[in-house]
Amino acid sequence: MLEPGADCLVYVDPAPRGEWALALAALLPGRERLSFYLLATEDDVRADPGLLQRAAARLAGAGAVREVVRPGPAERAVVAEAAQRTYALLVVPPAGRNAIQRMLKGSRVATVVRTVPAPVLIARRPPPRLQRILAAVSGDRATGVVAAAAELGGGLGAAVDHVYVASEVTLPFAPEVPPVAGAGGPDGLAAVRSILAERGVSGSLLVREGLVVDEVLDAFDSGAYDLLVVGAGSGERGPFGSEDLAERILLGCSGSTLVVPPAVARGPRTSQPD
């Protein structure tokens, strides 16, 4: 994901939460070999001409820092810029909209995650160091999530744990079907265990039972993790009426979240699409 020379896009928000994105970008492993593109909207730069220079100073020591200005609003600027260049990672702070504002204007981070086919790091109250990473491996994109979490954890020297949530319940008098690797039902856990074993991943696998969003967020909060890694949903390619749980997880997470898109994250199909 973050190979030497890779390009990273950081959206510079003039609001105080814009600092979160810069602080998190500064924590990325191997940043001295990365190229950072600092993006701001025309309106924000007009209102504060020194915005991007100050942001660049926050990333001193990076391989390269370039400034980009695009017409707003923020999500449109990020999506347009991501369409122009292949970025290895986007770092975006949330807009801080409440539920009603999200209903009216949509969610900035959800729009970016849904539209951009690159990993998106949603920066939210980053700690001084990323020491504990939780990877949600309930989805059919477990392989990519495991790989992304392992790469970040290795680069940062952080401990990586994985959480699998079994959300399926048995229907009364359903026929007993023997487990099939990679299929639905409880076989997803076996598939995740096999992915972890194949990649020689250390760290614990937390197995929980319940509603996926609630269990992942609870595991994140109760384990005092610094970063959550999830696989993005299938977006418009999912069956009609399907729901992207990754969106709900990233909107509800109290900390920073790395969303790994389907193209990067797709692996052997397990039980859940989140």
Partner: protein, 347 residues
């Protein structure tokens, strides 16, 4: 489905309707025997009718026949309008209770210690109770305020047609059978009518449906709500539409995120056959009580589905997980809930 298949299914419609109306007429004729029985059991008032509907749905393993019986008892003046209303509400709670008992038996049979299928039953019962209990209270106020006053679906022509066709049969039956036998025959005929009407329903199992992915894909709450509405509009019974999930959901699993909105939708359209029964029993309030309950249930379900589906799911999931944590906790939950209708009947 081929045209021949459609015709074959449609061919069951007339016998099904004939038996359905016949059963209601038999129940009305035999209801005279039920009044003293209810009084003998000291069943009366709203709580008693609620408990009686609940208990009866447990006995006949379905809610729809009990709701139809409540309307027949209303038409024969054995129950008041409010008691019939409460009994119909109780029948829905009993139908959910049946799903729970079936799930518990399935877990016992398979000696399951995790992913218990009793979860579905608890979720069905809790979702139904949380919506229906306030809906019954609201509905009662609406009934007393005269909501839907004068709402009729039956017409003079239908009434005279029913009388012309069924009066000779029920008169003959009444002349040779005691009232309580007529009532029991009515229940048997009603259950048989539902089985015949099942043959009219489209074969959902042979078609790809959203439910075949419900074990793997999480759907939006509004979507599963619509699926629950649609499937139960065809099957007419929550327990049947829930049991339909077994062959439809791939490999016998459903994701718990999909369960609650499906049940909320199913709980609304399950009244369609009861509305029809209300139209043919010939009591001025029969359609009204069903319409009031259907409206209040819908009015309480829609904000849940479109406003705070996840909080509601969390509530139901928390209770269902707690109740199905062990075999003992399921048994305790079922035992307590079995006592509720009994206590209501004794109040």
């Amino acid at each position: 489905m081929t045209a021949r298949g459609v015709l074959r299914r449609a061919g069951w419609l007339l016998p099904g309707l004939f038996l359905f109306i016949l059963s209601l007429e038999l129940l009305k004729k035999g209801a005279a025997a039920v009044g003293p029985l209810l009084r003998g059991m000291d069943v009366g008032g709203l709580a008693g009718a609620l408990g009686f509907g609940w208990m009866m749905a447990c006995v006949v393993l379905s809610g729809s026949p009990v709701a139809a019986i409540a309307l027949a008892l209303l038409a024969s003046r054995t129950l008041t309008t409010e008691e019939a209303f409460a009994m119909i509400g109780g029948s829905r709670l009993g139908a959910s209770f049946v799903v729970l008992v079936i799930g518990m038996l399935d877990d016992l049979r398979n000696r399951r210690t995790e992913k218990r299928s009793a979860y579905i039953g608890v979720a069905a019962l809790v979702s139904t109770a949380v919506v229906y209990l306030p809906a019954l209270g609201l509905g009662l106020m609406a009934l007393r305020a005269g909501a839907f006053h004068g709402l009729r679906l039956e017409g003079r022509d239908v009434g005279s047609l029913v009388a012309a066709v069924y009066a000779p049969i029920t008169r003959l039956a009444a002349s040779v059978l005691p009232a309580w036998v007529l009532f029991l025959a009515g229940i048997g005929c009603l259950l048989f009518a539902f089985r015949v009407l099942d043959r009219v329903l489209p074969d959902l199992q042979s078609r790809p449906t959203p439910m075949s992915l419900a074990g793997r894909v999480t759907y939006q709450p509004w979507f599963m709500f619509a699926v629950g509405l649609g499937v139960t509009a065809l099957t007419l019974s929550v327990s049947v539409s829930l049991s339909l999930l077994v062959p439809l959901a791939a490999r016998g699993y459903i994701r718990r995120e999909n369960v609650v909105p499906y049940i909320l939708g199913a709980n609304i359209t399950t009244f369609i056959d009861t509305l029809f029964a209300g139209a043919v029993v010939g009591h001025p309030d029969a359609v009204r009580v069903v319409a009031v309950l259907m409206t209040t249930v819908t009015a309480l379900s829609l904000p849940i589905v479109f406003g705070f589906p996840y909080a509601f799911e969390r509530l139901v999931d928390g209770i269902a997980r707690g109740a199905t944590r062990s075999g003992r906790s399921v048994a305790a939950f079922v035992a307590v809930l079995f006592l509720v209708p009994l206590i209501l009947m004794l109040l």
